[in-house]
Amino acid sequence: MTLADPQTSNGDSAQDVAFDVDEARFARAQRVESIARWALPVIVMVLTVYAWDRVVTLNNIPHYVLPSPGRVMATMVEDWWLLIGSALVTLQTTLLALLVAVIGGVGLAVLFTQSRFAEMSFYPYAVILQVTPIVSIAPLIFIYVENRTVGLLLCAWIVAFFPILANTTLGLKSADHNLRDLMTIYRASRWQRLRYLQLPSALPYFLGGLRIAGGLALIGAVVAEYVAGTGGVSSGLASRIQEAGYRLNIPRMFAALLLIAAMGVAIFMALSLLSHLLLRKWHESAVKREN
C-alpha cells in the first residue's frame, strides 16, 4: 500500500460510497423488518376478522351457531361488567397460584441443591405430579378440598410449579465451576455460596421457567374452574363460558374466550418485561449488542 497516493485515496472514497450504499440498504432492511414485525400480525388479524364477518353475513349463519365479530364485540360491551368481574376472579386465582408456585418451586429447588437426599426422595414425585393431566386430578381435589378457592388454587399450582422447579434447579447447578472453586478457596459458607453465586446464576433459568409457568397457571385455573363447575358467587371466566354454553349464548362464549386469550398474552408480556428488566444489564438473552 503506497502512502499519500491520490489515486489510492480516490479509490478509498469510492469504496466508502459503496460501503455507505450497503449500510443504507442494511438500515432500510432493518426498518422494514421492525415495521413488519407488528404490522403483519395486525394485517392478518384484520383480514381474518373481515373474512369471518363475510362468511357469517353472506351465508346468513344464525348467531347461536356462529356470531359475527361485530356481535361478539357488542356482547363484550353489553356484558362488560359481568365478564370483567369473572376475568378478575380467574386472574386472581392465576396470579396467586403463580406466586405460590414461585415460592414452592424456588424453595424446593434450593432444598434439592442443598441436599442430594431430599432431591432423590422428592424429585420423582414432582415429575409424577407434572406428567399426570390436571383434568384427571382435579375432580379428586374438589372432593377432598372443601373450599372452592383453595381447590382452584391447588390445581393451578400443580400445573405451574414444575417448570419453575425444574428450571431453577438446573440454574442453581449451572454456576461456573471456576467461580465455585473460588468460593471454596475463599471459604464461603453455604449461605454465601447460595446468595452470591448460585441464585444469581439461576436467575435467567428461573425467569425462563416463570414465563412458561405464567401461561400454565392460567390454563390450570381455567381447567380447574371447568371441573369445579359453575355456581357460587365468585365464578371465573371458565364458569361463564360453561353457563353461556348451557344457554346457547354463543356470542358471550366468544367474548369470554377472547378475554382469556387477552389475559394469557398480558401475563406473558408482563413476565417477559420483568425478565428483560432484570437481565438487561448482563445476560446475553437480554443484552442488545452492536454488531
Binding site: D181, T184, Y186, R187, A188, Y196, L197, K281
Partner: protein, 266 residues
Amino acid sequence: MTTDRTIRPLGERPRILQMVDVDKTFAGNVVALRRMALSVNEGDFISLLGPSGCGKSTALRLIAGLMRPTTGRIAWDGGQSADDLGVVFQEPTLMPWATVAQNVWLPFRLRGQTFSAVKDRIEEVLALVGLENFGGAYPRELSGGMKMRVSIARALVTNPRLILMDEPFAALDEITRQKLNNDLLELKAQMGSTVIFVTHSVFESVFLSDRIIVMAARPGRVIREITVDAPYPRGIAFRTSPDYAAHALATSEALSEAMGEKMELH
C-alpha cells in the same frame, strides 16, 4: 500500594509452604503427580512449565486446597487462613451480573465486609491494574485483556501471601500478553507478593520467574528446577539480553527432555 514486604534475594527468603512427597492419583489409576516436592518462599515467582497433562493444574489445585493429596502433605508455615490465597484462572471467571468493582469486592464480601468499608482499597487496586474508570462497568463491556486485569485485581485486593495463576494469559493475543506480563511483574514488585504461575511458554516463564519448575507427564513429576537470577525490574532490555537467551535455551532443553525428545541444537 506499598507494603512492608520486601523481596529478599533468592536463598534468604523465609518459607511459606512446602509440598512434601505429594502423590495424586485419580480414579482409574491416572497418576497426575508423583513424589512432588516443592518449597515456596516469600517473594518467589515460580513458574510451573511442562507439556499438557503433566499435572501443573493438579499441583495448583492441591496447593489451593481444592483437593487433597493421595499421599504426602502440603504444609503452610505458620498455618493457613482464608486470606492467604489469591487465584487467577485461565478464564477471567467474573460474575457477569456484578460490576467490575463488585467483582473485586467478592473476597472482602465473603469475609463480611461492606462495600463502603473497602471502597478505597478496591479503587486503589483497580487503578493499579489500569482500570480506574471501569469500576461501574459490567464484565461483558470489557475486552479479554481488561477482564483478565479485573481477575488479577480480585486476586490482589486482599494482598494475599500467595497468588496462584493457571495459564492466565493463554487465551490472549501476544501484544496483550506481553503488556500484562510487564504489568504483572510491576504489581508483584510493588506488593511484594509470592506467585506460582502455570504456563506452556518457555519465554513467558523465563521473563517472569526467578524459579522455573520443569515437569514431565505420565506420570506427572518435577524433572528440573532452573533458577533465573536476573534482577527485577525486568523489561525490554532483559528480553533482548544474552542472559535471557541463555536461560531460554536451558529451559527449552529441559522441556524437550521432559517431553522425551533429544534437542538437536548443538
